[in-house]
Symmetry: C2
Subunit: 213 residues, 2 copies
Amino acid sequence: MTSTESPIRLLLADDHPVVRAGLRAVLETEEDFEVVADTATAEGAVDLAARLDLDVVLMDLQFGGALHGAQATAEITAREGAPRVLVLTTYDTDADILAAIEAGATGYLLKDAPPEELAAAVRTAAAGKSALAPTIALRLMDRMRTPATALSRRETEVLQLVADGLSNAQISKRLFLSQATVKSHLVHIYSKLGVDSRTAAVAAATTRGLIRR
Amino acid sequence: MTSTESPIRLLLADDHPVVRAGLRAVLETEEDFEVVADTATAEGAVDLAARLDLDVVLMDLQFGGALHGAQATAEITAREGAPRVLVLTTYDTDADILAAIEAGATGYLLKDAPPEELAAAVRTAAAGKSALAPTIALRLMDRMRTPATALSRRETEVLQLVADGLSNAQISKRLFLSQATVKSHLVHIYSKLGVDSRTAAVAAATTRGLIRR
DNA sequence: TGCGGCATCAACCGAAAGGTGGAGTATCGG
DNA sequence: CCGATACTCCACCTTTCGGTTGATGCCGCA
């Protein structure tokens, strides 16, 4: 496997210094990888991706600051001749995964991945092929298989307010609806999520990443 | 500061290979640190802490497996001549912090801490002194200042189950209580949080970091 | 053009949750 | 020992929520 090819040039974007150091340590043991730079912010990632000649950006989703990793991913991939973006995060909620893929991410990995899997994914991404962690692939399949899990826009809106702690009466006022309509939406939400109470719906939707927390 | 003392002997316990590598990389640049071993499980941490001669254990709270970091911490610190345990986690909820401290942790750090802070905390912990991240210290101060916001252990337990989507009946069975008791706890919780429904309580407690997730 | 999904609303019933008041036990610190 | 807190439980009442049935208008897609 010893190659004379030019190495795969990487950028690491993660707000945790420890994680950046860990990725560097893990990836630099690979002969064909070269970690060109790292950054603690999403803004920094966008900036560096534009100026450096990169093959793959390893991007976290959760940054301490304002800009989200998914938005940064969208900005990076929007450019001509942009590097591939490989999302590397702790969470595996539907919302995160879909947002990342829609933003143009080439792959989606979880931080608990073993080093070999990580290296393999980087090579896959560098080659322009999609790299999904097994867990993620499964979750996507699940989503396709049961489209009932997908809430409508209005339903999501209602459920979000429920999660914020509002009563049906408060929700109806907020959205200019009758309470009957709110209840109607909730009934549909319950059946889609397979639950039978507002708190259970919030719990289910949260773990599936259907709503913000 | 160059010391001829014996080095501070460390154990790293974290289920993320990348984080372990990162901690190793960061800590081994310090002259007076020696990373003796690392482990991916809480069980492994308990085992190694008993057999190796250690000064400080760096312990994550969230492990993929069954045993929780706080429980492992309790088991480790229960022994005679046990090493200090420094909790290093991503989350900073009241529940996690208190559980860790009650379990006998000497310090509590967040993973986004810069390397210098991390090294300083390890030395502080090795000396047997308490090492808290500024964020954590603030949160604890807050808790002291407004004891009304502080939920009791039992109340937190009940509220966590509410957040998980359980009904009063389910909670009463789970905790071997009557429904009257569950309702009683909830009434107290509502008044402490200044809300008047279970969903609002969950929302309030979540934003204040009183419960997980 | 008709079917289905979405969004809207009404009326009704039973069940769950919330509100009030009281009360007994246990523990801990002053 | 006393007082405060936490934890447990009971009874009664009111309000909210959940479940059902049924109905209307709109939009997109086949």
